[in-house]
Each structure stands twice: as structure tokens, then as C-alpha cells.
Symmetry: C2
Subunit: 277 residues, 2 copies
């Protein structure tokens, strides 16, 4: 038995499955959990792979530690999407953190992950964490000059996640951030979604002084080379705290100071996309 | 219609196919060419993906330019395997090169690639190139203190490629190299073949002063994060010629000086494998 994700009718990724654990239709999407042969438990939304127990650390470490090893004193973080809780888990590794708001549109994703994916969801009961089940693009408009970091931990730009790739959303983020605040988001594969990456980058460049694309090698996001994007008016990813990065890397399976620098190096074809060539 | 490669019964990669161009059984293996929807023409051997027109540059640039931007005066290069010709094409980008021997066990691969994959095979008629159709592990024993660089451009360690992952082979390479010579080879995925990578590294560490694993993000080699390994008694990949690298990168779609340094950064879990932890 195989779970197969068709990727834009160009390629497909199959995972050998031991069994389907659960399938539920929420108000927003079909939520499925599988037990795979090699990758541990697998979460899919509308048959698109979100994460597995075995590979989730790559995505979560890279979307969190790249910005947080740059910010001098991060206290308040907003995560939009990320209902599995893995991003929140990584954020809570920093002692300076006072408040993490997780704004996930689909409560059912959070509740099922708490039941079936404790590896990512276990820290959602931490007293510093506040769960909000709302549309992130609307919720963010309640804030002004408040967050040190906003992480857009979104699905692909289809369905409920689409609005999180649009210029108006990035403007709301800028308003909700402190003047030295920062944002990171996943920004798709340069092989299959070069147009999405190009458009996002163009939107962000209108709004933020620094827009920096970086790389995470995520096994279950075909074809492995995935991008994330960092934006800030104040900080650059190049200027990271090497001591903090070293300390955090002790708690990581992927991230370390060498990877921090290396993630910013881009193959020529990717450099051309973000340079809008 | 899809071509699907089953990877160790853990995962599978599918490619949407327009048509099968050709299939021939050689003395050694089944050789197939397909026209894919997204990746251009595809070459498979025994139903394992070797390369596509669209992504081959990653592999070929990374297995060639990492060593050749380190060597001060590379003149004589041996390629073992690599019958598609892409590795030879990249080597010939250096003016210092006087002789390239391609030793491919299966002549039929070379002849069919010359017919169906000119993008990689077109330089095989260059007067500096000598084609030899023999078992690479035997052929190499004819040489002593001769080559500046040997590239092992092998398939996976099954079938005819198996011998190219063994300690005796690396000893033959050392003998065939000049004292300041170097070798690179593909060394599999740390996700699915960590044992192969660990064994190779251990073998090489007994034989060479410098053994350096580096990363290439190859879309069609599941799960995208692939390793190559460099060995030398004299050189380290860290000490590369930045000017040469800059010049070569003008002719590349992936490789550039930033990528050269970045390729040496390893995620913690990969570092642990090559450190034999």
C-alpha cells in the first residue's frame, strides 16, 4: 500500500504505508494520518504531504532558528498556520520567549496532532503558548508594533493558504511587527513553483528592506530543495549570533552555524529566480 | 503514463511520461529513454533514474567543479562510469585539461546517449577525450602516478557498480593518482543509504589524508539531498581558487563560489554519519 502525492502533474512522491490511522473531513480540508514504512507517522491535508515524524525536524528547525539566531532579544512570536505544533516546539527552545500565539484556521488539525503527533504537538500546552483558531490574515490585523517575529507556516498557495502569499498579507505583517521585527515563511520549490517564489519575492521587496531567500533540504517536499524567505527592515540573516546558533544546534538534528551560512548560498538558477531574471 | 522508481521500498519517485523513446537490453543492463512531461528526456538503467535533460546539470557540475576549482593545474582526468558524457562535458570547460579518459563498462550506454542525449554526450568527440569500454576497477590497475583527478561517476552499489564502493578500488585509485591527485565520487543519500555512506567514508579514511563529504541537491535522486565525497592526500575542498570558481560559475546553472563553500556544510544528522557516530 502506497500513499502517492501528485505534484503538479510533473512528478509524484510515493511513501510505503503500513496503515491509514485516521481520516477526517474538517470544515476546511481532509485531514489524514498514516503509519509509513520508513518515515514514521505521516500527516496529509487534502492528500498533500505536510510532514512525517522522521523528517519534520528539517522544516521546523530551519523556519525557526534562522530568524531567532539573528534577533537579539525575541520575546513575542506569532505563528500563522503550523497547526502540527512543530514550529512552536522549536521557538520554545529560546529562554527569552515570553509569548507564542499559534493562529491556525483549522482547530481540528491541532486537536488531531495533539492526539496522533505528540512529537510535534507536545509543547502546545506550554503556558507561554496561546492557541487561536481564526483566519490568520484577519487575525493579524488586530496587532500593531507588537511581535518580534511572525512565522507564516502555511500550506501551498491553494485553498485556505492562498491569501498568505499575497501583498496585502505582507503589509499586515509589517504593521503587526515591531520596527526591528522579522518574518519567515516557506516559499515553495524553485523547481516546480518558480513563479510563486518570484511573485512572493517581488511583493516582499516592495515592503521590507531585507528580503532573503534561503534553502532547506526537506525529503518529503518534492524535489527536496525547498526555499524559505526571511524579511525584515532591521536585520539580515547574514548577521547571526554564532554562540546562540552553536548552543541551539546542540538541540537540533539539522541546524548548526555552518548550515546557517550555507542556507543562504543559492544555485545560479535559484539566484536568477529571486533576482527576477 | 508514469515512470515510477521504487526506492528501497521506502519511497518512490514518479515522473509523468509523454512516451517511451527506446528500450534496449545490453550485456549489462536494461537501458531506457523516455520523454517526460517536465524534465525533458530521461535515462534509466535497470529502471533506476540516472538523469534527465532538465536536472543533469546539478550532478555533473558538482562532481566536477568542486575538485577542479581546488586543483592548481589539472591536466589528466579519468572518469569511471559516466557513460552519458555529462561529467566529461564539465571537465572540458577547463583550458588546462590535456586528456580525459572515460572508462564505461557498457559501450551501449555511450552510443545511445550520443544518439538520444546530445546535451550530455556532445563533447565525447572532443580530441582530448579517449573512450574505453572496460571494467573501471580493472582498467585503473594499469596506471600508476598518472592522473590529477579520478571521478567515480557510478550507479548505486548494486549490479556492475558494486565494486566501485569497495576498499580495494579506493587503493587502486590512490595508486593511479599523482601524489597531489584527487578523487570525487557520488556517495548516495544520507536518508536512505546511510550505511553505504558510512562504509565508504571508513574505507577512504584508511587510505587518504582528506576525506570530505559534500552536498548536491539533485531533484531526481530521492530524497533530493545527495552526497558526493572528495578524497586527496594533498588538497582540501576548503581551499579553492575563488577566481577560477567565479569564472567557471559563468558557465554553470548550479555551481558558484558561495555554493562551493555551502556544499561542505552538513546538517547534524549527516555530520554524525560521516563521523561514524
Amino acid at each position: 500500500m502506497w500513499f502517492v502525492e501528485n505534484c503538479e502533474n510533473k512528478a509524484s512522491l510515493g511513501l510505503k504505508i503500513k496503515k491509514k490511522i485516521l481520516e477526517q473531513q474538517s470544515k476546511f480540508q481532509k485531514i489524514s494520518f498514516y503509519e509509513t514504512e520508513f518515515f514514521g507517522k505521516l500527516l496529509t491535508l487534502d492528500d498533500v504531504i505536510m510532514l512525517s515524524e522522521k523528517d519534520e525536524f528539517v522544516y521546523h528547525e530551519m523556519i525557526v532558528h534562522m530568524p531567532l539566531c539573528v534577533h537579539e532579544n525575541p520575546e513575542r512570536v506569532l505563528v500563522i498556520g503550523g497547526g502540527d505544533g512543530g514550529t512552536v516546539r522549536e521557538i520554545l527552545k529560546y529562554d527569552t520567549i515570553k509569548e507564542v500565539i499559534l493562529c491556525e484556521i483549522d482547530e481540528q488539525v491541532v486537536r488531531l496532532c495533539q492526539q496522533y503527533l505528540p512529537i510535534t504537538a507536545e509543547k502546545l500546552t506550554d503556558p507561554r503558548v496561546k492557541l487561536v483558531f481564526e483566519d490568520g490574515a484577519k487575525f493579524i490585523k488586530n496587532y500593531e508594533n507588537y511581535f518580534d517575529l511572525i512565522i507564516t507556516d502555511s500550506t501551498d498557495p491553494i485553498g485556505p493558504g492562498k491569501i498568505l502569499f499575497q501583498e496585502d498579507y505582507y503589509r499586515s505583517i509589517k504593521k503587526a511587527l515591531k520596527t526591528n521585527g522579522m518574518m519567515t515563511c516557506q516559499s515553495e520549490s524553485p523547481w516546480f513553483y518558480d513563479d510563486v517564489l518570484r511573485d512572493m519575492t517581488n511583493h516582499m521587496c516592495k515592503i521590507f528592506n531585507h528580503v532573503e531567500t534561503y534553502i532547506a533540504m526537506i525529503p518529503l517536499y518534492l524535489p527536496g530543495l525547498w526555499t524559505m524567505t526571511f524579511t525584515s527592515d532591521h536585520y539580515s540573516l547574514k548577521d547571526f549570533d554564532r554562540n546562540k546558533s552553536e548552543t541551539i544546534s546542540e538541540l537540533c538534528k539539522y541546524y548548526n552555524p555552518a548550515i546557517h551560512s550555507a542556507a543562504l548560498a543559492k544555485p545560479n538558477f535559484l539566484q536568477n529566480i529571486v533576482n527576477n531574471k
